[in-house]
């Protein structure tokens, strides 16, 4: 097997993590639709879950259950527990985000970032420096 192929195979999990992480972050930044932003956020967080689980995996390791023989190699269980917590946090974040999008849709009649921001700008005083506020909010 040539060197590049084995590098890819050896670090397959991490390559997937990098793709998901960058893809998710890109969606959060680039998408105009508020729900799609949350989808991107969820993908971004999921990549981190995969990263932790990959770190905890030991080649040839079994599930961390205490056995009579006592000399088996175990995978590290702690990352799984941590990620269980992180998944709960992720669910809460997504749920709260979707609830906010619902309220934004009810208040503004749109969930497109640029339309909502235009209406938001119109809510402010006309003499204010609205252009600058929009630049902040879009980041």
């Amino acid at each position: 097997m040539s060197a590049p192929v084995s590098v890819i195979l050896d670090s397959w999990n991490y390559l997937v993590v990098i793709c998901l992480m960058m893809g998710g972050l890109f969606i959060v930044i680039s998408q105009n639709n508020l729900v799609k932003k949350l989808v991107g956020l969820a993908i971004f967080q999921t990549s981190v879950f995969l990263f932790y689980i990959s770190v905890g995996k030991m080649a040839g390791g079994t599930a961390p259950i205490l056995m009579k023989s006592g000399d088996a190699a175990y995978s590290n269980p702690l990352p799984h527990v941590l990620i269980l917590t992180a998944i709960v946090v992720g669910v809460a974040t997504t749920a709260l985000g979707l609830a906010l999008v619902l309220r934004i849709n009810a208040a503004f009649g749109s969930i497109e970032d640029d339309e909502v921001l235009a209406m938001k700008a119109a809510d402010g005083e006309p003499r204010g420096r609205r252009g600058e506020d929009d630049a902040e909010d879009q980041q």
Partner: protein
């Protein structure tokens, strides 16, 4: 349970009391009961924090093992001069703003939402205290998210008055979640090479790790995430809108305590967890924290000068003031850290007081407070305005106010580090902050057609005056804050 047992459990109680009362408050059938539970929760936390501060005099430190699992396996809450000082400042301000919330919150949100609002309020207070107390890197992430999600709920509650609060809340949620996830990625890298999550254990193990690149990447991710949470320029973008559109009481609570906890964590990570790698922490301090702090100071001050909406103006000013704290930390010296911690305490007093005063104006006016609507309020609401002025002068750093003490120690730390150019920039930015304060003061005494006095409610101006008097008190007798901050700084740099 005996008194000794209660005292032994204080480190957990300072976090647990607000967190446990939060679900009860959500069920409160009337707003008054919810408020009473919030006062109990923040009051209990304040009492615990005072006891903890007393227990750490002389630089003593101890830790509380959650579930009696000893570290590094279990999660520990660390009580040392640093965490005790920060948690005391935060609990005190949380308690005073809770007193203010009784009238102010009901003026801006629906009565049936009040119980749930106090629930989120308690969750935010408990989460932020947990952020300070915890000695576990991953547990910190959980508290980061508890406080962030509850803050988002509180900010979005401003939607009853102004629908823009929903967007501010949404943006804070997304930006905050990305920041927190960056922090978790960093912790993952560090965990992969050390196999530990306990901060004290990490500090021992990190210098021995051969894979220095992984440690550096982990450090970078953790710091990037924490900078977002602390609203340091250029990742402060969530802060101005959040403070501006949240209900007044919420603005006061968040401005007083929210970013302070994250700033404390930055100090803890840089000078505690990564203390074994002084080159790495020193590089981050000198080439990242100091330039970003200076940029934030000037950007925040200049945007504040041009802003007309008072809450947004104060939020921009917060970006600048957070810059002063970060600048102190960036000096990476005992004097610099002490200056940072002093300003954590004093800025909580200053900005908390200013937002309480603006909250008082907002309730009296029944509308957003901007330079136009607050014209003449100096004559119409003299009690609130005097409190506002005291806190404002403290913000500028007039002698005999707490703000002056902050500036004094920051200037001393800069002189000690021979950073004359930075010192001149700090002086210039202080002068600029006079401009936006003067802009407000001038308008307050404008002649207006409507010159009738507004009935000022004691429930609104008493909390403000507690903080205003504290601003004067700690300006004349700064020993409690200065000593606490210096002990914290010496403890972090290993001098205690």
């Amino acid at each position: 349970m005996t008194l000794a047992q209660v005292i032994a459990n204080l480190p957990a109680l300072v976090v647990a009391i607000p967190l446990l009362l939060a679900p009860v408050a959500a069920l409160a059938p009337v707003a008054g009961l919810g408020w009473l539970l919030a006062v109990l929760g923040t009051g209990g936390a304040l009492f615990s924090a005072v006891m903890l501060m007393g227990a750490t005099t002389g630089g003593k430190s101890f830790s509380y093992f959650l579930g009696s699992w000893p570290p590094p396996w279990g999660i520990e809450f660390v009580v040392d001069p640093v965490s005790a000082f920060t948690v005391l400042v935060m609990s005190a301000l949380a308690f005073v703003t809770t007193l203010f919330a009784r009238t102010a919150l009901l003026a801006e949100i629906a009565e049936e939402d009040a119980g749930k609002a106090y629930s989120a309020w308690l969750l935010a207070c408990g989460g932020l205290s947990g952020l300070v107390m915890t000695g576990d890197a991953f547990n910190l992430f959980v508290f980061l998210e508890i406080s962030a999600l509850s803050s988002v709920i509180l900010i979005a509650l401003g939607a009853g008055r102004d629908r823009r609060a929903l967007i501010a809340g949404y943006n804070y949620l997304v930006i905050g979640a990305v920041g927190a996830t960056f922090y978790v990625i960093g912790v993952g890298f560090i965990y992969a090479v050390t196999g530990s999550l306990n901060m004290a254990d990490l500090a021992d193990r990190i210098p021995q790790v051969p894979q220095t690149t992984v440690v550096m990447v982990g450090f970078g991710f953790m710091m990037a995430g924490l900078l977002v949470k602390a609203a340091i320029f250029p990742v402060h973008v969530w802060l101005p809108a959040s403070y501006a559109f949240a209900p007044s009481a919420v603005s006061a609570l968040l401005a007083a305590i929210a970013t302070k906890a994250s700033l404390y964590v930055i100090a803890r990570v840089m000078f505690g967890v990564f203390a074994g790698l002084p080159d790495l922490a020193g590089f981050a301090a000198e080439f990242i924290l100091v330039p970003l702090a200076l940029a934030g100071i000037f950007l925040g001050t200049i945007l504040a000068i041009y802003e007309k909406d008072i809450k947004k103006l104060l939020a921009f000013s917060s970006v600048a003031q957070i810059g002063y704290i970060a600048l102190g930390f960036g000096l990476a010296s005992t004097a610099g850290l002490a200056a940072g911690f002093i300003h954590i305490g004093n800025h909580a007093l200053i900005k908390g007081g200013l937002f309480l005063a603006v909250g008082g104006y907002a309730v009296a006016l029944g509308s957003r407070v901007n330079l136009g609507s607050m014209a003449g309020l100096g004559r119409r609401m003299p009690v609130t305005t005097t409190g506002f002025l005291i806190c404002g002068l403290s913000l500028v750093g007039l002698p005999l106010t707490a703000g002056f003490i902050s500036k004094l120690y920051l200037v001393r730390a800069l002189l000690e580090a021979d950073m004359i150019a930075v010192l001149l920039l700090v002086m210039a930015s202080s002068a600029l902050s006079v401009v936006y304060l003067w802009k407000i003061v001038e308008v307050l005494w404008h002649k207006t057609e409507n010159d009738s006095a507004v009935a000022e409610q004691p429930a609104l101006y008493m909390p403000l005056w507690i903080i205003a008097i504290a601003n004067l008190w700690f300006g004349v007798a700064p020993a409690p804050i200065v000593d606490g901050a210096q002990r914290a700084a010496m403890y972090l740099t290993g001098g205690l």
